[in-house]
Symmetry: C2
Subunit: 196 residues, 2 copies
Amino acid sequence: MAKRIITISREFGSGGRFIGEEVAKKLGIKYYDRDIIAQIAEQSGFSPEYIKENAELSPKKGLFAYAFSGRDITGKSIEDMVYEAQRNVILDIAAKESCVIIGRNADFILKDRDDVLNVFIHGDMSEKIKRICALYRVSEDDAVKMMNDTDKRRSTNYNFYTEQKWGMAGNYTLSLNSSQLGYGMCERMILECVNH
Amino acid sequence: MAKRIITISREFGSGGRFIGEEVAKKLGIKYYDRDIIAQIAEQSGFSPEYIKENAELSPKKGLFAYAFSGRDITGKSIEDMVYEAQRNVILDIAAKESCVIIGRNADFILKDRDDVLNVFIHGDMSEKIKRICALYRVSEDDAVKMMNDTDKRRSTNYNFYTEQKWGMAGNYTLSLNSSQLGYGMCERMILECVNH
């Protein structure tokens, strides 16, 4: 089956977002990353700022805090409601159009479709740190902290909602080390798989 | 740096060995899989049968049994000695010639070289079971048992000796789902990375 939706999961600093954007441009299809936030906000009733901080990265304070967080009468926590809204938005987008979706457990949320190519982009520590320093104008120490913190929150969120393990090759059709292959080569390999 | 050594780690039934053999043929380089066993046997003094059963798959009875297994005066277990011999054989091969090496933690053993392309081949459960049934002429139930048992032993061995986690995308330059991409496409993508 031809692939018309590409999900890109990525380590922080690996260039996965950049690669996804380039792939979308080359295929002439939509690219969804932060733009999803407004739609999740609208569906859930929470502010875009709240969604930005929480949707991909909750449970922020870890699973212990999550266990004691506020719930509605159905037992759903606020985190669960935001996640449910995110899930619905991603399912709607996928039903509607060809696109690239960055992060947000889209690989798992769309697992029942057979027109989805799931990609994981990762990289070597030294290259990722260099990229983060340049992009965010921070020191190496701060880059390491940002990277560890973001990837830990992404993986906690993924492992919690999908019952799979973030970063395991088995979750994705294609996993690429962007430091060793280069961004251009990663783009070409993804395009080849789409056109395959 | 040009890649002249390709390590292929693989899930049982994913066709990783077959793909590796084809890549070696197309590149006109040596292919090492079971042929390594004779060399490990020679170096370690154990029989080829013993190596075949233990080198990639120990600690066979799990880490608890390993903790109480026989040791020489340096504290090395028999498993450690076999592993050390395997490690030396792989380092020697890599120093000597371009080649494809299947399994045996070669990705980790060769981690200090920069002319190595590390590949992980995995696949969808249903496809792997079909392949195992056809190759080994066993029932579906037996295929599932063979698959679970072999992958569990491979991952226990890998996790124990490398302190990395078997099957995590981050260990490999390239991870491919052979059921979704097809064997031919996997070969082409590996060759592209080598020639890159």
